[in-house]
Symmetry: C2
Subunit: 217 residues, 2 copies
């Protein structure tokens, strides 16, 4: 029973790794679409979200099967529910990548990001890519130190998010309301992407150590 | 066993009703704070979110206890997980009310909403209040028709959200970037509030009928 439980949990974990890989690719591609006004890339992110959603459904099904077949209790049960939380966070991260892609597409052939914010969004994309990499590795190696690194990535993302607002709300800003709106929403999409990764990372720590470090915001 | 399961589920349901009531009050209060620049109201929304978070934790604990003690399978198991999803949506709705409160407080003593958008935000607040009422009643009466009404509320909220962008991106708009940013983010908070309510409502339908009408977006 115990061996079977472990095997089932491993299978779920592998699906989470596949999800994290897909989510990372989606946001990286969305960032490219955003910064280069690449409609093809944007459309691929948008259509690709269906796959991430299917993976989420699959994890949910596997979790139900495992719960029904093994009826785990106590800490084992919490592991399974943690996996479900991670899947939900990854699914939402996929949605946020899709939102970035949709914004890029809406302004195409123009670039949605004003030139004075190219550097900030480039860096937000890099941090998001690192976040995507880190959550994938954390899940695949069940590495607590890697998962904990997500908190630092999130701090960097928050700093970039503040920097973005300093530009938009600063005295030099002379762009349209449309640019201000796009920038504010895009900033939020990246920031939320990082938040969900931190949540997922905390659940990974819990998966590995059994220690709950999960404050509800 | 079956009777006990039902009693446990009822207890969880009652907690969800308490959560929904608190969430509704939070957003209604946040809307007042927003439209009247009332710092006290805003601060109460912000500090009150801790209670909603505690309720979420409590539901999570009750769900774990129920799963561990009763080891429900098949459809019963799905009911319990649906309750967990509803709690997560309500918790997030509380966060969004808090975001509205924080925006009101950030611009205090000024009103964050530009006067030409007062009517739109007033109506968004009314729709959100109705949403809060509907999800509370749907949970307390386990009423599928009431839950289904959330989809219509969400359509109204989406229409208001579009209307808001028409104003901000329209030719008459002559406000600061700050006003554009606030408006875009506030609009998103209300829209997401409605989205989460729709999700929660679909889980209520599932709780009652066992029918899964839950597309992953």
């Amino acid at each position: 029973m115990r061996t079977e439980f472990r095997a089932d949990l491993r299978e779920i974990n592998q699906l989470l790794v596949v999800m994290a890989t897909a989510v990372r690719a989606a946001l990286t591609r969305a960032t490219t679409a955003l910064l280069t006004a690449d409609a093809d890339e944007a459309e691929q992110v948008i259509s690709g979200d269906v796959e991430i959603d299917s993976l989420y459904r699959l994890v949910e099904e596997k979790v139900f099967e495992l719960l029904a077949r093994q009826a785990p209790v106590a800490s084992d049960l919490r592991l399974v529910i943690a996996a479900l939380h991670i899947a939900a966070d990854l699914e939402r991260m996929g949605d946020l990548a899709e939102h970035v892609g949709r914004t890029a597409l809406r302004r195409h052939p123009a670039v949605a990001v004003p030139s004075e914010l190219t550097a900030v969004f480039t860096e937000m994309g890099e941090v998001a890519d690192q976040i995507g990499d880190r959550i994938t590795v954390a899940l695949s190696d069940l590495d607590v130190a890697v998962a904990a690194g997500l908190e630092r990535d999130d701090d960097r993302m928050d700093a970039l998010h503040r920097q973005l607002f300093e530009v938009v709300l600063g005295p030099q800003w002379a762009r349209s309301a449309e640019a201000a709106v796009d920038t504010a929403l895009l900033g939020r999409f990246y920031e939320r992407f990082a938040d969900h990764a931190v949540n997922a990372g905390r659940h990974v720590v819990f998966l590995v150590t059994g220690e709950n470090t999960l404050p509800v915001s």
